[in-house]
């Protein structure tokens, strides 16, 4: 079997496995099957990535119906990279999952893991497909599964958070659908490559303009771009820890990818960035997100909410890279997409370890915990260094490229803004470290043990990856550059 025949199984394995896992009894069996499915997906994605970078786009027609008519999976460097990230993060967070899920979710786990696999298959499907309508279908698959996963949270507020996400996510998906419907109306095709060929003739069509606007707003919602981010903090804060760790690394990233795919491939960049003031709009929202997200994070007492607001800020960095509309900017966006997934997952895993032992993610309950859970909180501190962007960490690499991209277009003031928001990150990470290591344990607090190895080892694995990708950037920078080139094509002349 060649690689092309294997490629669609990145999506199909989790999709098929979800049907099997739903029926498995008990707790261990569903987890093992889920882990195997996610690992298989990740391995295939890892095999596909070099092929997609080296050989150019791979196309797989479903049911052997040729592309403009049938549904096609079209994989180039950009989506192979995102698919590897999503499948890889799923496998790594699953290693961490069993203890944490057992503590939080009662009864058998078959249904829970089946939902997780559906969410994973949906995210991977969005990433790999070359059909605009198929994007919407997979978006709904992953979103519906995600709402249910969030509602599994122990806190009753999880239900409200899931409901709020459901409303806002549905609005976002509807906007995407309206945009796709407009495109279909004027071009008569849903295949992305086909759309890209037909749209240049319709530059002055108002429906096409409206379609672009609808798609950007719709994906802005799923992406949690600043004014549309309201669903994110509560959804992340009250979801089960495993779900938060997985979503923080994948869901918003895939939404960003969809936005990029439409802006750069379906509508050519010399259209998107000219017909709408996209560069300005995205830059303003990104900077506002960076500041507002970091600012609010500085005053949160619930650590998961703090990290969630920090995610809003980090989404700002990614969108900032996109708004520059240069090759370096887009490379920085892809780099941060990958690196932030590693950083945020490590941080949420560390907080998950704390919650596993203390049952609380409040800053006050963390006081003096550094001496009782040294490994967990050291992991948090090291991942915190990465989110600040200290050299030798992955976070430094992406911020460095973002600075390079800003300097390249002569926007020195952006460099200053990046540094200021990084300092704000120093503050909110430092608050945790100060509470954990420099405050005394409150009197009468119950003694806590270090988190079990089953949780610690995967956490440290992700922390280790943060440092690995901070030192060896061949994979990340190479793939990000290839991804940016795949989206931008030969390059673009901006006015």
């Amino acid at each position: 079997m060649n690689l092309l025949a294997l490629m669609p199984f990145i999506v199909l394995i989790p999709l098929i496995a979800s049907g099997v896992v739903a029926l498995l009894p008990g707790r261990t069996l569903p987890w093992v099957a889920t882990l195997l499915a996610a690992l298989a997906s990740a391995v295939i994605a890892a095999l596909v990535l070099p092929e997609a970078i080296g050989q150019g786009p791979m196309s797989y027609p479903f049911g052997n119906w040729p592309p403009p008519i049938g549904i096609e999976y079209r994989v180039d460097a950009a989506n192979a990279f995102v698919a590897l990230l999503v499948a890889g993060m799923a496998a790594i967070t699953l290693l961490w999952a069993p203890k944490s899920v057992a503590a939080e979710i009662e009864g058998r786990h078959g249904t829970f893991y089946a939902l997780f696999l559906l969410a994973l298959a949906g995210l991977l499907g969005i990433t790999l497909t070359g059909d605009a309508f198929n994007v919407f279908v997979f978006l709904e698959i992953s979103s519906l599964a995600t709402y249910a996963l969030i509602a599994y949270g122990q806190d009753r507020r999880a239900l409200l958070a899931a409901f709020r996400y459901l409303i806002m996510g549905t609005v976002g998906a509807t906007f995407l659908l309206i945009g796709i419907a407009f495109l279909y109306m004027v071009t008569g095709t849903l295949n992305m490559a086909d759309l890209a060929e037909r749209l240049p003739e319709l530059r002055d069509n108002n429906a096409v303009r409206a379609a672009l606007a609808f798609i950007i707003v719709g994906m802005g919602l799923k992406l949690a771009l600043l004014p549309l981010h309201l669903w994110l903090p509560n959804a992340y804060a009250y979801a089960p820890n495993f779900v938060t760790a997985f979503l923080a690394g994948t869901a918003t990233k895939v939404a960003l990818y969809v936005m990029l795919r439409f802006v750069f491939t379906v509508f050519a960049p010399d259209y998107s960035f000219v017909v709408l003031p996209l560069s300005t709009v995205l830059m303003v929202l990104a900077v506002a997100g960076m500041f507002a997200g970091s600012w609010v994070a500085m005053f949160q007492i619930h650590l998961k909410r703090m990290l969630a607001y920090s995610s809003v800020a980090q989404v700002g960095y990614m969108v900032l890279g996109v708004s520059l509309a240069t090759l370096t900017g887009l490379t920085a966006a892809f780099l941060h997409l990958f690196n932030h997934a590693l950083i945020k997952t490590a941080l949420f895993m560390a907080i998950g370890c704390v919650m596993y032992r203390t049952g609380s993610a409040k800053l006050d309950d963390l006081r003096g915990l550094g001496r009782e859970m040294p490994w967990t909180l050291t992991a948090f501190a090291l991942a915190g260094l990465s989110i600040i962007g200290v050299p030798t960490t992955a976070g430094f690499i992406s911020k460095w490229y973002l600075v390079l991209a800003s300097v390249e277009v002569g926007a020195w003031w952006l460099v200053a803004l990046i540094v200021i928001t990084s300092l704000m990150a120093v503050y909110y990470i430092w608050r945790v470290i100060e509470a954990a290591w420099f405050s005394p344990r409150p009197q009468g607090a119950v003694a806590v043990q270090e988190a079990p190895l089953a949780l610690l080892l995967p956490t440290w694995l992700v922390v280790g990856l943060n440092f690995y990708f901070g030192l060896d950037t061949r994979l990340t920078v190479g793939a990000s550059t290839a991804a940016a080139e795949a989206l931008l094509g030969a390059g673009v002349a901006l006015p």
Partner: protein
Amino acid sequence: MSDNGILRIIARFLIPLILLVGLYIQFHGEYSPGGGFQAGVVFAVGWILYVLIWGLERGLKVISLKAMYVLSAAGVLLYAGTGLLGVLLGGKYLEFYPLLESPHAAQQAGIIVVEFGVGLTVATVAMLIFTLFARRRSEWIAALEQDDPEQRP
């Protein structure tokens, strides 16, 4: 509501027809309007009408909760398995040509099996959703009847 004669007689008359229409839409889906989704919903409606008249307990004797779970997953697997069969026989995923000799019959057979999977899942999931809500409501009413202020939502 089974003590109301009009409801009972009309339901008795309607339920077989509804189920029949469901099956009709199912098995004519490949060349006429319809298909697994619509058929599944219509078929489930027949069962839901039965439950509305004779109660959830009797409805669950027709098809148990566990059977719904199993069948809903089985439908997905039937769909996915048919797709996989195309790959195993040397074609693409969801390609039906390798299934049978005649290309026309192969496409028809493939789409019928796939749509049957869809119908099975949609019908059982619709029943499942209805059952879960109906149960919740009966628990809620029981709690109200107990008049326990703590249990009152």
